[in-house]
Structure formats: C-alpha cells, structure tokens
C-alpha cells in the first residue's frame, strides 16, 4: 500500500476537509450479487460513489472494479479493508490520481448540419482531440477519451451548437506501480499463504504501492 511519503503528498493535495479523489481497484471473482455486496459497503456509510466500472482484468475469469470516491485517507483505507473482507474479493488497492493512469470515454451527438455549416465546431473538435464514430446526414457522434475536465470542457464548448446527446463512461484506471495480478493470483491459489501474501500491510510503512 501507499508509502508514508505518498500519504503526506495526499494530504497536500487534499481539500481543506482532508478529502480528495481516490480510485479503488478491486480484483474479484465474477459472481452475481458481488457488485451489490460491494456497493452497500459505501451506502451503509452514506458515501457517494462518483464512478463505478466493472470489467475484465488481465486474468481470465477475474473481474476488476474501479470505484471513484471523494473521501479522506482514513475513510478510504477502512472502506478498502471492508471490501477486501468480502469472500469473493481477492484484493483491493486504493490510489490517488497521481498514482494512476486513468481515462474516461465520452460520446457526443451533434447535428451534422451544425458542424458542416460552422467551421468553429470542427475546430473545437480538433482542439479537444475528438474522433468521429458515426457520421450520418442528420447527426454525427464524436468520442473523446480523457480526464473528466477534458470531456467536460467539450460539453461546455458544444453547448451553443445543439448538443443532442451526451454520455460519459465510468473511470478506468491502471495503477502506475502495479506489476499486474498474475503473480498475486498464484499466491491466492496456493493452499498455504506465501510470504508476500501474509505481509501485514497495516504495519507496512515502507512498502511500495503494490505490496499487499
């Protein structure tokens, strides 16, 4: 888990109330009902989930959730422990934005007439790195991948030009310091816990993000 350094760093970056954005990464079995089991850990404490994504992971059969919340370090740490306690959850990590590479995908539907007529729109799209997914006579769908501020900025920019529909995906995130789950899984599958797995992370003040 996080080093002492990063903890202090986090506090620097946090709001006045000590809260900031954390991305929780959950490796879990793919099982019906598990999403609910995880979601109620947040709702029980009246904590809002800003974004939640459920997808495949680098390992077949193992699911990966990305959950974004705006909370303080202590709260997130306790939430991570509670999630990890669930029987079908293998491992939970939580990271600040500095510790991850993350993206969200947004789709924008605009009137084709509007773009054809107004060059400014086209420029806007180039400026925001959008790509055209579908171009039809009546409308065009653009996609933007990026951080929240980037996708938000294009919404603002398109507002004057008849933005017909907008949707944004949940956040997906890769942990910078992660070595992936392949080696971890072997330890989990082993009958007796290995040294790596039994590390007592609560006391591990000097470990890397990816030590358990």
């Amino acid at each position: 888990m996080s080093t002492e350094n990063t903890i202090e760093h986090k506090i620097d970056k946090a709001d006045l109330d000590g809260k900031q954005e954390y991305t929780i990464t959950v490796y879990a079995e793919n099982r019906i009902g598990l999403l609910n089991r995880i979601a109620i850990i947040f709702s029980k404490r009246k904590i809002n989930i800003e974004s939640l994504n459920s997808s495949a992971s680098e390992i077949e059969g193992i699911h990966r959730f990305n959950i974004v919340i705006h909370e303080g370090y202590e709260v997130v740490r306790k939430l991570a422990r509670q999630i990890e306690k669930q029987i079908e959850v293998l491992k939970v990590y939580f990271n600040t934005n500095e510790e991850i590479i993350w993206q969200e995908l947004a789709l924008y539907k605009v009137s084709t007439d509007e773009i054809a007529e107004k060059v400014t729109v086209e420029r806007l799209l180039r400026q925001y790195g959008a790509s055209a997914v579908v171009i039809r006579k009546d409308y065009t769908v653009f996609a933007v991948t990026g951080h929240r501020e980037e996708t938000d900025a294009l919404v603002k920019a398109l507002e004057p030009y008849e933005l017909i529909e907008f949707v944004r995906s949940a956040r997906v995130a890769i942990i910078k310091d992660s070595a992936g789950f392949h080696e971890k899984l072997k330890e989990f599958e082993a009958f007796e816990p290995g040294e790596e797995l039994v590390e007592n992370e609560f006391l591990e003040k000097g470990g890397k993000i990816f030590t358990m």
Binding site: I32, G33, K44, K78, R81, I87, F188, E195, V198
Partner: protein
C-alpha cells in the same frame, strides 16, 4: 418418477458398493452433506418452498434431529445459542418469503457477534424468480449486509460444493452466518452426485494469515517495557478456542485482564488476574484505569462504542497492541501501535514465549483499590440489599451460590443482562450467551433452548426481563414439544427497565412508554405444561431458585424485583470511560 423412499433405499444399497456416486434429489444430497459436516441438530420451520427438503428429512429422523420452533426468529436464535454453547455451526431451515425475512434479525445478530451459522432457505422455482410469485422475496439481497456470505442455488449440481463452502466460510477466520437459498426445482432435481468433499480452500478467501514473527516481537517489546500494561479481551479468545493459550499468556506476564461481555467466561471469574468487565456498565477499575494504562493489549475484541465510550478521550496515553484475526478491525476504531493480524491460538503462544515473567503488584493493587470502592458503594448494596424490594443482583448472587459458576447463563437484553454479566460467576468458557453487538430483545428464550441442545449436560438458565420475554414467548411451545430442560428466570420490574433508567437519568424522568404490563407468566407457562412459580418476597427467593434449578425438566420462575432500580456503575453516552459514575 421414483419416490424419495425408493431413491433412498437404492442409495443405501448403492452406498455399500460405490462411494463415489449417489443417485437422489437435491434435497437428499443436501441432508447427506449436513451429516458429512457433522450436523446433528437443525432448528427450523417448514413451508411451501422448502417442502422437498422436509420431505427428504422425513427419512433422516435417526440421523438429524429437527427441532420445530414456533417462529423462524426463534429458530435462528436457537441455532445461535447452540453454536455459542457448543462451538459448532448452528443450522437453520426456513421457507421462502416470510420464513426467510423472519431470519433477518438473527442473521444481523450473528453477523455482529461473529456466530457461525448455516441457514438454508427454500425459494420459489427458478423459472418463477422475478415474477413476484407466491412467497417469493429477494432473500439474497435482503440478507447481503447481514451475512458473511450468501448464495442462491438454482441447480442441484451446485448443492454439494456450495454447502461445503458454506460450512468452511461460517466457521473459519472470523466466523459468521451464511445463507444458502435453494430454489424448489433444485431441491426436487434428480441427479447422480459425486462423493461429498469438504472445503478447505477458497482462492479469494484467506481466513487467517501466516503469522509474522516480527510483529510478535514488536508487541512483546512494547509489553515488556510497560509499567502499567492492561489486557482487554473479547470473544475472539473463545471463538479461537484459545482459552488455555490466553491463560498461559496472562499467567506468565502477570497483566490484569478485563473482558467485553462477549469475552466473559474465557477465563474463570475467580482468576486472580481477571479484573472484571469493560464498558458502559462495566467495573469501576477497568474503566478508569483504561485511561491510565501505558500499554493496552487488545485480544479478539473490536473497541465497540459501548466499550470505549467517548473515543477521542479513550486511552489516549496508551500504546495499543491489537491482536485480531480480522484485519479490518485493526485500526478501525482505535489506532494500534502494533497490530498482530492472526489467529490468537497461534499468536498468543508466540507472544507468551517472548514476554517477561512479571507480577505487576502495584498496578494490580490499583485495580483492587477501585474494586473495593465499587464493592462498598455499588456491589454490596446490590447483592445484599437491606430494603424490602428485591434486586436483580441478589437473584444472581443466589444463583452463583446454588450453581457455583457451572451453569450456562443465557440472557436477553436490558438491565437484567448487564446485571447478569456483572455478577454471574463462570467457571467455564462458552457459559455466557448474550446478544452483545445487536442487543436483540427476544434473544434469550430461544437462544437458551439452542444452548441446551449445544450443552445438554449443563444447567441452562435463561435470565430474561419482562419486556424481552414478551418478544418471543411463543418458543415456550418449542420447549413443551421437545422438552429442552431450560430454566427460565423472569426478572420482572414492570418496566422496560434500561430505557426507563435512561429516561430517568437523561430525559428528566419523562417515562415515555416504558410502563409495560405482563400476562400471568406462571399461568402462561402452565398453559404450555411447563412447571412455574413466582416470588415476590425475599424470604422465598432462595427456596424458589433451588426448586427451579433442581427441577427435572424446564421450569419458569418469575421474580418481582424493585421497579426503579438502576444499573451502576455507568459511563453515560458521550462521556469518557474515566468519567464513569458510581451512582
């Protein structure tokens, strides 16, 4: 289609020739699995969606004893009492819909008190799921927050593996309740099943870690450097079956040890290092000295708010060593200087090896000093009252004198519970059965029935208030029918006493709806053919208690105690443990 009886006969014939295949229904394979897991007693109530299981059960009467309770809540509390008294997994059967929702209180109670249970609920046919069929309810989602694990079976081929996992999960690591919801089609489904294999590994579940010796060393170093070390122990010692290891640890280290009500009985009341009870109605010394100790060693306890009082004034001067099997408990409420994550059956002996032999005479003398103050001001007046009214404490004193500390005491929730935990003497572990975390009124009577099945050779005394008794009195019917020799002691103060006490102390004596009337409990018991008596003066108390305890079967005794007695000491809510009041 073959009848169940035919199938069983075929199976029995087959079992002799081949151990690997069993041809039968999902219901039969479920019951076989329960037998493989060592289950002997089931508490349950039949209904439409669980009928195939009950039909199969008809042929298993010689192997599985089924206790027909009078309400599913009674069933699950009985299973809790069974598990707590025996150390085995409690098993409950209930039908779908209302049968399953009636389990919820017991599940929540078992979840917060870490009681191992396997609950089997029937469910409508798989093809009816989501159609709002008769007695269909979303049991899995309703019970998710109050179970350690739950699973819906829709195909009989899943039953063996799921059942094996259920037992493994329920009793390993930090124990807890597990629920399996089985659709009716799966119960009826005819299949060939392989041999039952017990579960001992789930890749995503690590019940306990390999102990890291460096944390044991850090803990020992801290303990050895302490001048005023103090042990707080909880049910973890009992759940970990580590009573002997714990005794060895305190005997060598000489450190005074106080208990949460869930941990009571892990060491005998009379142990010289047992300094008493923690928390809101705990003993004077342990509460006050929590804020004087320099090192606190918390073992299998979770710093519940009823134990800590105001958290920001709790043990701030102390360095905390926290031993727990559940890593989510370490640093949850109280920050640990050293967290020892592991099974205390393994960690305690390692720690005992490294701690110095010590006596801590001066420090222990402080506990004795506070204890003397409490004896003079609170305990003696409670146990040897001079007024006309009987006190709950003197009833407990008489029970101690008659049973000598060997009885299993099951309590309900409220004033009588605090008095029982404070004053009951225990020689043996698994003798104090109470609803700790959830505080479930109505727990006592059914839990006592279960405890009697879990500890058949013990005297089981259910101590219950007049309010709590009226929450689950229907279980007298279970006693009537199956004969559990439970001694029921109703301490009647004609009030919802604990709420009244709070209204007196904190709400200007505005007694809002705490004035509760009762039926004629003696007549009620007798209507269930249970022997009963009533005492309203001290002169008859001892004799009446002896009659109850020496009676062959179950017996109900109602004792009229003082109406407005309060339980003291008390840490008022929102106050620090060192602000504990003696009156």
């Amino acid at each position: 289609m073959e009848t169940a009886q035919d199938t069983i006969q075929q199976n029995e014939a087959k079992a002799e020739t081949s151990k690997t295949l069993f041809k039968g229904t999902g219901s039969q394979v479920l019951l076989n699995g329960l037998i493989e897991e060592g289950v002997t007693t089931i508490f349950g109530y039949p209904g439409g969606a669980i009928m195939p299981i009950y039909d199969a059960l008809y042929d298993y009467a010689d192997k599985l004893e089924h206790i027909l309770v009078r309400h599913e809540q009674g069933g699950i509390h009985a299973a809790q009492g069974f598990a707590r008294a025996s150390g085995e997994v409690g098993v409950v059967f209930a039908t779908s819909g209302p049968g399953a929702t009636n389990l919820v209180t017991g599940l929540a109670d078992a979840q917060i008190d870490s009681t191992p249970l396997v609950c089997i609920t029937g469910q409508v046919f798989a093809h009816l799921l989501g159609t709002d069929a008769f007695q269909e309810t979303d049991v899995i989602n309703i019970t998710t927050p109050v179970t350690k694990w739950n699973y819906q079976v829709t195909d009989a081929k899943e039953i063996q593996e799921v059942l094996a996992k259920a037992f493994y999960i329920a009793k390993s690591g930090r124990p807890g309740p597990v629920l399996i919801d089985i659709t009716k089609n799966a119960q009826l489904q005819l299949e060939e099943f392989p041999e039952y294999v017990k579960c001992n590994h789930i890749r995503s579940y690590r019940p306990k870690p390999k102990v890291r010796i460096e944390y044991i060393e850090q803990a020992a170093e801290l303990i050895n450097s302490a001048k005023k070390p103090f042990i707080l122990f909880g049910q973890g010692v009992i759940l970990g079956k580590a009573e002997e290891e714990f005794k060895a640890f305190i005997n060598k280290s000489g450190i005074p040890a106080a208990w949460t009500i869930m941990g009571e009985g892990a060491i005998p009341t009379s142990h010289p290092l047992n300094v008493g009870m923690l928390g809101m109605h705990g003993n004077y010394g342990p509460n006050v000295l929590t804020n004087e100790a320099d090192v606190i060693i918390a073992i299998g306890m979770r710093f519940d708010d009823r134990v800590t009082g105001r958290l920001d004034k709790y043990a701030k001067q102390a360095k905390v060593v926290h031993l727990d099997i559940d890593p989510a408990e370490i640093d949850k409420n109280v920050k640990a200087e050293v967290g020892v994550w592991g099974d205390c059956k393994e960690t305690l002996p390692l720690l005992t090896n490294l701690v110095n032999e010590n006596k801590h005479e001066d420090w222990l003398a402080k506990f004795r000093q506070y204890n003397q103050e409490e004896i003079d001001q609170v305990i003696t007046p409670e146990l040897y009252p001079t007024g006309d009214e009987m006190t709950m404490g003197e009833v407990l004193r008489n029970i101690n004198e008659i049973c000598g500390g060997d009885a299993v005491i099951v309590t309900d929730v409220g004033q009588h519970q605090m008095v029982a935990c404070r004053y009951a003497k225990f020689n043996n572990t698994r003798s104090n059965i109470t609803s700790g975390g959830l505080g479930t009124m109505g727990f006592g009577l059914p839990a006592a029935i279960g405890a009697k099945y879990g500890a058949p050779d013990k005297t089981v005394i259910a101590i219950i208030g007049d309010g709590g008794f009226q929450m689950t009195p229907q279980e007298l019917g279970t006693i009537m029918q199956f004969g559990a020799a439970v001694k029921i002691l109703i301490l009647n103060n004609r009030f919802l006493g604990m709420v009244r006490q709070w209204q007196q102390l904190f709400h200007d004596k505005r007694y809002s709806f705490v004035n509760i009337t009762s039926p004629d409990f003696v007549a009620l018991a007798k209507s269930y053919y249970i022997e009963a008596g009533k005492v309203d003066e001290r002169a008859n108390l001892r004799q009446a208690l002896e009659t109850m305890i020496n009676h062959e079967g179950s017996y109900l005794l109602e004792v009229m105690v003082g109406r407005e007695n309060n339980v003291f000491p008390m840490v008022p809510q929102g106050m620090s443990v060192s602000e504990i009041r003696l009156k």
